[in-house]
């Protein structure tokens, strides 16, 4: 089962660093080399979506480019707003039961509370695409979050809500015995059962009843979640999975990248293969002061010079910690958003792949 799945590229980083642009660029670059790729993204900036020709949200992959050598890139702009209902309907064979679950009042709270649902949907979709046999490479533009890799655990996280072992244990033995004892008896004979009772009373009867019925109803979802959980875990840990961190030469996004690299390790994916430092100002020289003032005015000039200084400081500091973060590092220059189009992205993709390859011979191998 594992071997038939596409190679996975995870693209990670703080919000606003250019993750989606990098993901799309890499996809376009690989397509030119003759590979079949799909890029999955959740919330692209308007200009980028326009550049790719992605006009609307969709749960189907849309064709972006295809080449004569067989290479192609599709993109999927995942619609996660309404998809949850669909998911429940898909996982549960009888519509009536699906309806009952969706109407369970506790389930509504679960929906609100569970940040993991969006990630879960992405994972579910990803797994479907990755197992479809249509693509050599799946590029996942992860949501900007400190725990971006939580998406891997999201099926399990969701599973916890339906996990019978905990809840069943909690729900059984509804005896009224304990109430008759006085406080001190309760306190000193604080057995498992009694602490449970007190806690249950604290929550109230209605809550417990609702929980109990949710549990019974949602059994069918359970198995399906478990399957997805297992599939994704195996896939992410496939040997040929690549992870790419994207950052800016600034303290905050770099600290986030650093945190993400330890997340990668914690999820047994290992060190990131590549760190992309995006929007790096020219490094060789400091901005020419006189010209800065002449063409930008005093305030903007001071700002640019300070920014250049601060970038240099961050980039120098990075050298020390780089070995912990990623196997290779490349710098990309800033570019104008108004000039963003397919061509620019394709060139950017070429640049990324060339620079990456020059540092890491195994940068890209489709063997698993």
């Amino acid at each position: 089962m594992t071997s038939s799945r596409s190679q996975l590229i995870l693209v990670l980083g703080a919000g606003g660093v250019g993750k989606t642009s990098c993901s799309a660029s890499i996809g376009l670059g690989l397509a030119e080399k003759g590979l079949k790729c799909v890029v999955i993204t959740i919330d692209p900036a308007k200009r980028l979506a326009q550049a790719l020709g992605l006009e609307s949200l969709s749960n189907e992959a849309q064709k972006i480019v295809s080449h004569e050598n067989g290479g192609l890139m599709d993109a999927l702009w995942l619609d996660n707003k309404s998809a949850f209902r669909e998911l429940i309907y898909r996982k549960i064979s009888t519509p009536k039961l699906a309806e009952t679950i969706l109407e369970n009042r506790l389930f509504k709270i679960i929906q609100e509370q569970l940040g993991g649902i969006e990630e879960y949907l992405a994972v579910d979709k990803l797994l479907t695409l990755g197992s479809s046999g249509k693509y050599d490479v799946c590029i996942l533009d992860t949501p900007p979050s400190r725990h971006a890799l939580d998406f891997i655990e999201s099926p399990e996280h969701l599973l916890k809500f339906f996990d019978e072992s905990v809840l069943k244990l909690f729900l059984k033995d509804d005896s009224d015995e304990t109430q008759k004892k006085n406080l001190w008896e309760r306190f000193f004979t604080s057995t498992k059962q009694q602490t449970l009772e007190i806690f249950k009373k604290f929550l109230g009867k209605g809550f417990m009843g609702e929980l109990s019925s949710l549990l019974t109803q949602s059994r069918p979802v359970h198995d399906s979640l478990r399957e997805t959980a297992q599939g994704v875990k195996e896939w992410v840990r496939q040997k040929n999975t690549k992870s790419i961190l994207v950052s800016l030469p600034e303290d905050y996004p770099l600290a986030e990248a650093h945190l993400l690299s330890s997340e990668l390790r914690a999820h047994e994916i290992g060190k990131a293969n590549l760190l992309i430092m995006n929007r790096v100002l020219p490094e060789a020289s400091t901005p020419p002061y006189e010209e800065c003032i002449k063409y930008l005015g005093q305030e903007a000039a001071i700002n640019l010079i300070a920014k250049h200084d601060s970038q240099q400081r961050v980039i120098e500091g990075l050298e020390k910690i780089l070995p912990q973060i990623a196997a290779a590092k490349i710098h990309l220059p800033p570019f104008s958003h108004s000039k963003m189009d397919l061509n620019l992205l394709r060139n950017l993709g070429k640049e990324i792949l060339e620079k990456w390859q020059s540092q890491d011979q195994t940068y890209f191998s489709t063997n698993s």
């Binding site: 709270i109 809550f207 104008s336």
Partner: protein, 340 residues
């Protein structure tokens, strides 16, 4: 549990009375990840402290304590309320779901909400009891997965400090509680989950609490919501979505602060005359960025209304370490004077 819990002589009924007895103002600061929430939260506290508006409590919800360290706190990891640095009348703490739930459970018992006998226990015994209940394996696993409890506990702790909290070792109630909240979606979830508890259940202690938390949060005289954004497309869109999300829960309309606003470009000469290609390109990008972001800000202002745009904070490299540079012109309330 070492935190001091003020004991009221007669326990007030929980649902209606706290609003009259409190003039603590809550400032709930949220926004997309990386926009400078912690920086702004720290700056808010500094500003309030400079205005002698103490005692002030800064709460970092599910954060790393960054906002506390920006103000020079010695202990940035503590879940207990501790004084911050050299600032006058400023305290701070972090809260995380698990410890918050423990504290909150204890508080409810102390207030006699569940069973008046618990309120009569000494705080030491009560803590032992709370530990016994919550350390129970089944209860602990249950709290982990049970819908709605953790969000309610996080907001419950904030609500408690706003309505009944005292500055440690003083007899003064907090004048301001400033919250460095989680990022957009997660903040909205805290309120949605707590509101869902209210909508779904009519009875039970947790649900009564949820109701009184939400009724406090909905009072525009007490609760102020601030959304921090950057002058960029996605953060602004997210700011607007969050604002609509909060309003759909009948929470007060939030105010906006836009961080890292680029300085105006005032060229003395036309850039086309410049011959150094590398820097010409960079200068052009700076000009373009400034123009683009200025346009985004003015569109945004038009959409949300001028009165709701509270602060335009200038882009200052290395800002987090330099919050004093923004404190002076910072506005906390729309009517506060000062300039954006």
């Amino acid at each position: 549990m070492t935190e001091s819990i003020p004991r009221q002589e007669s326990t007030p009924r929980s649902n209606s009375i706290e609003i009259e007895m409190s003039d603590t103002k809550l400032h709930f600061i949220t926004g997309k990840g990386g926009v400078g929430k912690s920086t702004l939260a720290a700056a808010f506290v500094r500003k309030l402290s400079d205005l002698n508006e103490g005692p002030i409590l800064l709460i970092d919800i599910q954060g790393t304590g960054h906002c506390l360290s920006l103000l020079g706190a010695h202990d940035t990891k503590s879940f207990e309320i501790k004084p911050i640095g050299e600032l006058n009348h400023v305290w701070g703490c972090r809260i995380m779901p698990r410890p918050a739930f423990r504290q909150y459970f204890n508080l409810l018992l102390a207030m006699g909400q569940h069973d008046s006998t618990f309120a009569q226990l000494t705080s030491g015994l009560r803590s032992k009891f709370v530990d016994a209940v919550l350390d129970n394996k089944v209860v602990s696993a249950f709290v982990d997965v049970c819908p709605g409890l953790e969000p309610a506990a996080l907001l419950g702790k904030v609500h408690f400090e706003c309505t009944e909290g005292f500055a440690p070792e003083t007899e003064h109630r907090w004048k301001h509680v400033v919250v460095d909240a989680p990022s957009t979606g997660h903040s909205l979830m805290l309120f949605k989950s707590t509101q869902a508890l209210v909508d779904v259940f009519g009875s039970g202690i947790v649900f009564k609490q949820a109701r009184s938390i939400m009724s406090f949060m909905k009072d525009a005289k007490l609760a102020n919501f601030h959304i921090v954004s950057l002058p960029e497309e996605l953060p602004l869109r997210e700011a607007k979505d969050l604002s609509e999300g909060l309003e759909s829960l009948n929470l007060p309309s939030p105010h906006f602060s836009i961080n890292r606003v680029p300085p105006k470009v005032r060229p003395q000469e036309d850039i086309q005359n410049y011959t150094n290609a590398t820097w010409k390109n960079i200068f052009q990008l700076a000009i373009e960025k400034s123009e683009h972001e200025t346009a985004l800000i003015s569109n945004f202002t038009e959409e949300v209304g001028t009165s709701r745009l509270l602060n335009l904070v200038k882009e200052i490299p290395d800002l987090p370490q330099n919050i004093s540079m923004i404190v002076e012109n910072l506005r906390i309330f729309p009517t506060n004077g000062g300039k954006a």
